[in-house]
């Protein structure tokens, strides 16, 4: 029911999906069965003008069907929190220096607010970074790519090699860190096979990390309405094995 999994957090996601799907299906089927049974069993015979029993409430029953959903929901909440943790989503973003200087847009310079400003306007404050899943991970061997989203394309820049590409190329089984910014309106970076989506909001440089686990070519889809050609704003991510990736990097001409 889901596309193949091609990143390290996709199997985790699929586990969550299976749990949610089973709970959801059993609840849904149970309720439908109960409803269908009642409708058939208690349907009115022609000409019957009688009433049903005047049962107005039943406290134990009410407690049961308050408690059970509460427990289920609590379980789902805790479980999905755990999943989120495993995906790296809960790590706080204390990472101040991670952003490339060039990423700081005009509006991002951290002055101070109106009142405090006169005192501290010139003191450079830490940059603020908005993060998606796994944003704070910055393992040593991560491949860093700068992503620029604009109407209606993604642009990928490899700062170390000075390569610019319209497609994202990454090596398999190595963490990738995307440093994303949007030029005009909100876009979103979505790779269904990675189970990852992150809005790219103008004025908010954003980090996104993931580790691809399966070689192949997958679509990158812009998932936030960004104008008439929103539907056409797509690219691909190509996951290579490491030799292929090195080869690809060689072939590209730095700009």
């Amino acid at each position: 029911m889901l596309p193949i999994d091609a990143s390290s957090n996709a199997p985790v996601y699929d586990e969550l999906f299976r749990v949610l799907f089973s709970i959801g299906t059993s609840l849904f089927v149970g309720i439908c069965a109960l409803l269908g049974y009642s409708l058939l069993r208690f349907r009115r015979k022609a000409g019957d003008l009688g009433d049903g029993l005047a049962i107005e409430e039943n406290l134990p029953l009410e407690i049961i069907w308050t408690a059970i959903p509460a427990i289920v929901v609590l379980f789902i909440g805790i479980y999905s929190y755990d999943i989120y943790e495993r995906m790296g989503g809960m790590t706080p973003l204390t990472d101040h220096s991670a952003m490339h200087a060039a990423m700081a847009t005009e509006s991002m310079e951290m002055g101070a607010t109106e009142k405090a400003a006169s005192a501290s306007a010139d003191a450079p404050a830490p940059e603020r970074i908005w993060g998606g899943i796994g944003a704070a991970h910055e393992p040593l061997d991560a491949v860093t790519v700068e992503v620029t989203a604009m109407q209606f394309a993604f642009l990928f820049r490899y700062p170390e090699q000075g390569i610019i590409s319209g497609e994202l190329h990454v090596p398999v089984n190595r963490p990738v860190q995307l440093r994303m910014k949007a030029n005009d309106v909100i876009h979103a970076f979505w790779v269904p096979q990675f189970r990852l989506k992150q809005d790219i909001i103008p004025g908010q440089p954003t980090l996104l990390s993931f580790t691809p686990t399966r070689t192949g070519t997958y679509p990158i889809i812009c998932a936030e309405l960004c104008g008439p050609y929103h539907g056409g704003m797509r690219s691909s991510v190509v996951v290579h094995d490491s030799e292929e990736f090195a080869q690809w990097q060689q072939q590209q001409t730095p700009v």
């Binding site: 969550l16 049903g52 409430e57 929901v73 999905s80 993060g131 909001i201 008439p228 929103h230």
Partner: protein
């Protein structure tokens, strides 16, 4: 025969005779102050907009029958989808379940002759047609808004300004209408109850409207303020939400959803209330768990105000915020669940008449539970991160808003048409309507869950060819839904002319609107308003009701 109130708020002139007031069907086009006339005005006006919104949905589904953008220009597709969302929400669902049934029923339920502020009531209604026309005309004159019903900046700042401004004006008018209505309902329910009638004796729909109106009063003004700021950004080039001028788009999203999440309960709580009226009557059993039903409404109102950011999980919200909103959102399943189990318990052991009203109500339960369960899944951040802004979300909310609220609207029409018109609707036609709608609906929106999970984003006019078949299935479903409106319209029109006479109380119901003639006289009851303290006293000897 009925007359409408002749007084006007500001002129001290003596009452003109009844002959000066429009009679017959003409009064539905007048500034009538009769809550029943206003209720029907809302219903019919809303239904017209539903047809228009449905026509736009049809255009969407035609476009999506093929993977390439061939039927509509891309800009037009975005206009159509924006208009579709806006019309369906602000001109169909909200006015009909609140203004329509609310105005018709609430005065009966509190034992009053009219709403607390009849004139304000008429004003609230008459804001709607101009607002709707404005919105629709914008398409033909300067081009409609293109940024979706959410109007997220900076996109809404860069798309053609004229259409966006008209959209804002129209939504502001509709919001005011909704606030006026809310004030009226709160005053009527709290202050206009017949002597001797206690709050905890009110029919459930009155409670639902009370809760809804509180949501309207607390959240709609925030939307109004936000849209005013947005219009400044467009017209005066301020930078509230414009990042290139130092503004912050996420603040817009917070403010927008602070209204628009409660808005989804504004769209569904009244429907919960209506179902609570319909099921006991046709199952001949008391509404199960009255007290918990009331408290679950209050709980939904409260929780509904503090979950808005679940629409923004991918907007770079901080982790603690995601956690809080996940938990709060998922907990809405608890009070909502109470309501569903109580309805099931109401049916259990009853003598259920399997008529159109009941079938639509039961289909509502099925559809809504499915939509609610996908909602709880969406509330889980890690799950949402994959399916946000995909067709999974589109499926979720159509299951709730169409499968839930629209099904209830139809159920309610079958239930109350005899009261409103004095004539019964035709049952066989009703069954045809039900079957077509139910099958078409599930065919249209069921497969969309799969589309979303597998990689089809929403708001696109073109898509991956691998999704063609499923999309075509969905379009066929939409076609069935379009066809299903025909038996319904036919039924209403035929029955109006020549339906069987309904009599005062064809369902042998106990709520106060049935204790008068059909259609009711202007003053609602001849003589004193009845005191109904057990609106659900089925199964009891008459004296004990």
């Amino acid at each position: 025969m009925t007359t409408t109130s002749p007084g006007t708020l500001l002129s001290p002139s003596p009452e003109p005779g009844p002959s000066l007031q429009p009679q017959g069907w003409l009064r539905y086009f007048s500034f009538s102050l009769d809550h029943k006339v206003i209720g029907i005005q809302y219903l019919v006006c809303g239904f017209v907009f539903y047809l228009i919104g449905g026509l736009l949905a049809g255009m969407i589904r035609i476009e999506l029958a093929t993977p390439i953008a061939d039927f509509l220009p891309r800009e037009t597709y975005n206009e159509v989808l924006t208009l579709h969302g806006t019309i369906m929400i602000f001109l169909w669902i909200v006015p009909v379940v609140n203004g329509g049934f609310g105005n018709y029923l609430i005065p009966f339920y509190v034992g009053a002759r009219d709403m607390a502020f009849p004139r304000l009531n008429a004003v609230a209604f008459w804001l709607i047609p101009p607002a709707g026309l404005l919105l629709i005309c914008s398409y033909f004159i300067a081009g409609a808004a293109q940024s979706g019903w959410t109007a997220y900046p900076p996109l809404s700042l860069t798309t053609p300004a004229a259409g966006q401004i008209v959209w804002i004006m129209s939504v502001l008018l509709l919001g005011s209408s909704s606030i006026f209505g809310g004030i009226n309902f709160i005053a009527t329910i709290l202050k206009l109850r017949r002597p001797g009638l206690k709050l905890m004796q009110l029919p459930m729909y009155a409670w639902a409207m009370l809760g809804t109106s509180v949501l309207v009063i607390l959240s709609t003004p925030v939307l109004a303020g936000t849209l005013i700021l947005l219009s400044f950004d467009i017209i005066a080039h301020t930078g509230f939400f414009n990042p290139s001028l130092g503004g912050n788009v996420v603040v817009y999203q917070h403010l927008f959803w602070f209204y628009s999440h409660p808005a989804v309960y504004i769209m569904v709580l009244p429907a919960f209330g209506l179902v609570s009226e319909i099921l006991p009557v046709h199952a001949r059993k008391p509404l199960f768990g009255y007290t918990t039903m009331v408290f679950s409404i209050l709980a939904i109102v409260f929780l509904g105000l503090i979950v808005w950011a679940h629409h923004m999980f991918t907007s770079g919200t901080p982790p603690w915020m995601r956690l809080f909103f996940t938990i709060a959102t998922a907990f809405i399943a608890v009070p909502t669940g109470i309501k569903f189990f109580n309805w099931l318990a109401t049916l259990w052991g009853g003598r259920i008449a399997l008529n159109s009203a009941v079938l639509f109500s039961c289909a509502f339960i099925v559809n809504f539970v499915l939509g609610g369960i996908t909602g709880v899944a969406l509330a889980q951040v890690p799950f949402d991160v994959h399916v946000h802004d995909t067709y999974f979300v589109v499926a979720h909310f159509h299951y709730i808003v169409y499968g839930g609220t629209v099904f209830v609207i139809f159920a309610s029409v079958y239930h109350w048409f005899p009261k409103m018109s004095g004539r019964m609707l035709n049952e066989p036609l009703g069954m045809v309507h039900f079957l077509l709608t139910f099958v078409g609906f599930n065919l249209c929106f069921g497969p969309q869950h799969w589309l979303g999970l597998n990689g089809m984003p929403r708001r696109v006019a073109e898509y991956d060819p691998q999704f063609t078949l499923i999309n075509q299935l969905s379009s066929v479903g939409a076609l069935l839904m379009a066809i299903s409106t025909l038996p319904f319209l036919l039924n209403v029109l035929l029955s109006l002319r020549s339906g069987a006479a309904a009599g005062d109380n064809p369902w042998r119901a106990l709520t106060p609107e049935w204790l008068t003639s059909s259609p009711p006289p202007v003053e609602n009851w001849k003589g004193e308003a009845p005191l109904v303290t057990r609106p659900y006293g089925y199964g009891r000897p008459v004296e004990a009701r």
